[in-house]
């Protein structure tokens, strides 16, 4: 009986070691740092010093949430009311294309109006406004390699704003820098089709509401 219990305990310990060991290690380093702060360097522990390690940048959900709130406020202050409401309600922004023959050098839309769907941290998707034919995915990133908090990625709303500013400010330059792929590489065409349908429904609902809002 004792042997069985001991074996079970060993197995449980082995399974939990992945969780326990990092916590013990972290607690140990925290204790050492605290003792060093309290005692000063001259009273530090007697055993051989290990190489000083920079404290790891811990993912802080509160910090990320505050960053996203600031980013949303900035985005809201830059785009118009309709674009902001679109992002708030649908999770993406539509930006109208401004080039005569469509996006990219090879794109020839025959002068038909086209637009982009701008999602956070996803490729920019170009499509024909009337037929909803998908033209291409433009993969572009705005990475801050200084990684001030460990990650190079902007908050979601900042990423959308960066794409919006680059598209409305210099569409040709942004599209030329992006890696162009056929639709479906990263964004599921079925999902995009649903998003375009949702956008249409959303616009209809807003149009119905407009007289009420004015009145």
């Amino acid at each position: 009986m004792l042997l069985v219990l001991a074996a079970t305990a060993l197995v449980a310990l082995a399974l939990l070691s992945d969780l326990i060991i990092p916590r013990l290690d972290e607690g140990w380093h925290r204790l050492r740092a605290r003792r060093q702060r309290l005692d000063g360097p001259e009273h530090s522990f007697a055993w051989p010093r290990r190489r000083h390690r920079e404290p790891p940048l811990v993912y802080d959900p509160g910090r990320e949430r505050r960053a996203e709130q600031r980013a949303r406020a900035l985005l809201r202050s830059c785009v118009n009311e309709e674009e902001w409401a679109m992002y708030r309600d649908l999770g993406f922004i539509r930006v109208w294309g401004g080039q005569a023959n469509g996006p990219g050098e090879e794109g020839d839309t025959g002068g038909a109006p086209y637009a982009y769907l701008v999602y956070p941290h996803k490729p920019i998707l170009a499509y024909l406004a009337q037929t909803h034919r998908l033209l291409g995915e433009y993969c572009v990133e705005f990475l801050d390699e200084t990684r001030p908090y460990g990650s190079a990625r902007l908050p979601d709303s900042d990423d959308v704003l960066a794409k919006w500013m680059a598209l409305t400010g210099d569409e040709r330059r942004l599209i030329a820098m992006a890696n162009m792929h056929l639709p479906g590489r990263q964004l599921d065409p079925a999902q995009v089709t649903r998003d375009l349908w949702r956008l249409k429904q959303w616009e209809r609902a807003r149009m119905r509401e407009t007289p009420a809002r004015i009145g």
């Binding site: 990320e64 600031r70 406020a73 900035l74 993969c139 902007l154 704003l161 680059a166 992006a178």
Partner: protein, 77 residues
């Protein structure tokens, strides 16, 4: 714009004051030298919102109330 932080105020001042303008020009150059892009949000005719990418301080419209710096674009995967 900064990862993990969002909007950060870098510098502010009145461009009609020479001292402020000099400081803003230096900060503008510092940000561009660090590899960032600069854009000015604008309200076009009819209330349409758009932005203007600027590459030098002199390109910033006189009535602009802010310039936003963000990491330059690179082709993604």
């Amino acid at each position: 714009m900064k990862p993990g932080h969002g909007e950060v105020l870098i510098a502010e001042g009145d461009v009609t004051l020479a001292e402020d303008e000099q400081r803003l020009v230096e900060e503008f150059r510092r940000q561009l030298d660090a590899g960032l892009w600069a854009a000015v949000p604008l309200v076009a005719e009819g209330g349409r919102r758009q932005s203007m990418m600027v590459r030098s301080f002199s390109e910033i419209p006189q009535d602009a109330d802010r310039v936003i710096f963000f990491p330059r674009a690179a082709g993604g995967r």
